[in-house]
Symmetry: C2
Subunit: 490 residues, 2 copies
């Protein structure tokens, strides 16, 4: 399966594309920039959804569903918001097709033109805050902690599977609060929740911080983000959380009566992660043999492959394999027993290795004699022959170990690829080399833009709880009070 | 809460609208025909999704995701299909907005016109079969058993919350098979699965049958359906499953090499249920006091309300309530303990009754003295004072009993409202009265249309395994070999 598979160091981008295709994760559709998420890829996304959904519910959030369509006039109500999204909107103008007058094919019926065009939601702040106006009268109606799982559309010119697609799947939380403090706390709480999810489920260490003004969400007062580092040394923004102030409440006239009877505008946060996380997951951990999945997100955590020469052997092995399967499933571990006779064991080994199944068990006639089983782990590719007794406990522990190992490996990679620099020559060299570059910056958009022009690097984030440290901007030499994190990014 | 709430017999339609609004299930958005599913309504939908998704996975189906957009030309490839959907398509024609030349507001950028218009999927057969062409080469690639959870858009002129909306949520299964027999078996298997779901989760008895030609899905050879009966005597189609023959395989040129090396077109089925089921659930069981939910689909199965005069009493009651809550949760029962001091017990009782929480527990000072608790069940509105000992087992049993009772009540209603008639006068009277009317029909579309014109009744289905019985069509007097089921329908 890995035959003819491009290596990371040969061409990282090509490696990624081939991996996504050959591991059956996703493919391009005929519709520009829209992807098809194939069953294996979708099963990973479902695991991510389930874990994150539970974390959101455990912290008091509920799901709801708002319309796909946003009236064009809504988008215009918040000035920065429309500026940020107008250039990438899919617009519905008609609601009917008809047979062409010449009888050849079907055409849009010009008589079915909408009075007001509808935008396919690029994000739902506007339609949701228009609803909140009706939902909120008094402080008793607050906070509102609502999330939705939905598809959104942003007309992207250059697209890549999972990383940047015209249509993508995501969750978007939209919360309403009585005070500024509460709304800020919510935005920060979610950022920590995202980081927790990235690290403990995706095994991906992330930096937590604040975006600069130029990278802020259109309509936000403050944008918080988590940033991961991919194996080519480029950063990937994995999730954002926004403190929106009263911007949308003012745009949509959403006020509430305080306990004291005053009327005030409502405070807001919004936050989201998307199928882009699939791209992060793939790029952070996978290797030249294919996909590497953290066990917590693997659709199948264990696969068992029988090795046999005749039906008698198969029957005996199957009995044992099913016994092991059951003992694993009793521990909540997902197991596939692959006894298909259409494929040889070697083919199956290659297949599951490429698809990133964390643990592979093989049982042959000699194992039956010796009461053993062969265990292969995907992360290190190590193999071991072990006793069948206590196999379930052993594998349970091994899956935890693999989860930890994948995280530690990614953490070490990040540490090895984080450089502190103090002048612009070192800065340029460090950016050229790749990874996170931690440097002083004078805090101006102008400098940020110059640096981007010259190096393609952007400020990924200003770290939460970053050490205050006096210094000089690597570009302008002007004073700076804190180092920030630069990188080239996806 | 139920004050000023319209009774079913006063105005069933108004009763439904008020119920959906006051129980916080859904509301209209400003976008014509599009609904907002509120958190409480969405929580019920999530329960339905989870149960059905598990049933589909347990029968070998996987989820995937295909694009929201369908190129206009795809829709035209299957003749019957485009005829069925062309008149209700939302059409995307542009991909950018810009500031108006006069500076006033934003307009569609005429330069960002798509070469080919995109249709928002009304259903996904075309885009999926276009992909299957690439996925299927040989019999080894079959069957494909794929499902997707998605939003779809059909531009409806008259809409009602959940029952008929422009955008709705659904699951759509699309399967590909090597033989006709297999594809038919799949379509029938899913129909039985849907019926199982309706009866065992929604507590809704359904008739299983086949649609007449005029009610068939656009592009299907055969459409199977489940039909429920609502409390106003109208039928509601709850789910459909289609045997598509080779229609889409031929339209999209999807062939496979058989075991014997021949090249053949692939056989197909498709099937779906939608948020319309929410409407069925509400209309089948609820009463003049509000929503009635089968326990298996209730977001909260049990609510506990403390009754107290001072903080000391509350503290004692809370300790006991939390103990009971934990013992119930240990049995997998979802419980809310509502100790809010902002609302009185009477208000809470009314609220949970209206929202259909199956079991309400109340604990007051006298209960603490007597080691008792008051149990109220929503379906019968009966109350009982019982001992606190063994309360978890008692409630576990009670929830099962309520689930059964709601089903039996709906079943009795259907039986009481199913009439067999043998002439057209009786037919008209029976239809006027409401319910399912079982009568002979000559099998022609012409007669079906005449009956519809004169009585507004349609053939809901030709029952699976319906008794063969010679008779005469109630309308034309022509021979008939089997009775079919008529009703007025949503």
């Amino acid at each position: 399966m890995a035959k003819g598979f491009t290596k990371r160091e040969e061409n990282y981008s090509e490696w990624y594309n081939e991996l996504v295709a050959k591991a059956d994760l996703a493919e391009h559709s005929d519709v520009r920039g829209c992807m098809i998420i194939k069953p294996y890829g979708y099963a990973i996304w479902e695991k991510m959804q389930a874990a994150l959904d539970k974390m959101l519910k455990d912290t008091g959030h509920s799901n709801a569903y708002f319309p796909l369509f946003i009236p064009k006039s809504y988008l215009s109500k918040e000035a920065a918001h429309v500026k940020g999204f107008a250039k990438e909107c899919a617009v519905v103008t008609h609601y009917r097709l008809k047979r062409a007058d010449n009888g050849q094919g079907i055409v849009v019926d010009p008589e079915a033109k909408l009075e007001e065009e509808l935008i396919i939601r690029p994000t739902s702040e506007t339609i949701i805050w228009n609803s909140y106006r009706k939902w909120i009268q008094s402080y008793r109606d607050l906070p509102i902690l609502v999330n939705q799982w939905a598809n959104v559309v942003r007309w992207e010119m250059r697209t890549r599977l999972f990383l940047r697609t015209t249509e993508f799947l995501w969750q978007e939380g939209h919360t309403a609060h009585a005070t500024e403090v509460e709304a800020v706390e919510e935005a920060e709480k979610i950022l920590h929740l995202y980081a927790d999810f990235a690290e403990n489920w995706m095994a991906l260490p992330v930096l937590k911080g604040i975006k600069t003004e130029s990278e802020r969400f259109a309509g936000a007062i403050e944008t918080y983000c988590i940033e991961g580092l991919m194996q080519d040394g480029k950063a990937l923004q994995c999730g954002t959380s926004h403190f929106l102030g009263q911007n949308f409440a003012k745009a949509f006239d959403v006020k509430f009566a305080t306990k004291e009877g005053r009327e005030e505008y409502v405070w807001a946060s919004s936050w989201g992660v998307s199928t882009r996380l699939m791209g992060a997951l793939i790029m952070a951990h996978s290797d030249d043999n294919g996909l590497v999945l953290p066990p917590k997100l693997a659709p199948q955590q264990v696969v068992i492959v029988p090795i046999y020469k005749n039906e008698d052997q198969l029957n005996q092995i199957s009995e044992k394999a099913i016994e092991i399967k059951k003992s694993l499933e009793a521990k909540g571990i997902s197991v596939k027993y692959d006894d298909r006779d259409t494929h040889k064991p070697g083919w199956k080994f290659a297949e599951y290795e490429f698809k990133g199944v964390p643990v592979r068990l093989a049982i042959g006639p000699r194992d039956m004699e010796n009461n053993t089983v062969e265990i292969a782990r995907r992360d290190t590719l190590e193999k071991d022959i072990v006793n069948q007794d206590g196999i379930a406990e052993r594998i349970e522990k091994l899956l935890e170990e693999i989860q930890q190992n994948i995280f530690q490996k990614a953490l070490k990679y990040r540490e090895d690829n984080t450089q502190h620099v103090d002048n612009f020559d070192d800065f340029k060299n460090a950016i050229e080399k790749g990874g996170f570059v931690v440097a002083h910056w004078d805090g101006t958009t102008k400098t940020e833009e110059k640096i981007k022009q010259e190096t393609k690097a952007t400020v990924r984030c200003i770290l939460f709880n970053g050490n205050q440290e006096a210094g000089k901007c690597v570009y302008s030499g002007n004073p700076s009070s804190q180092r920030v994190v630069f990188a080239k990014a996806y």
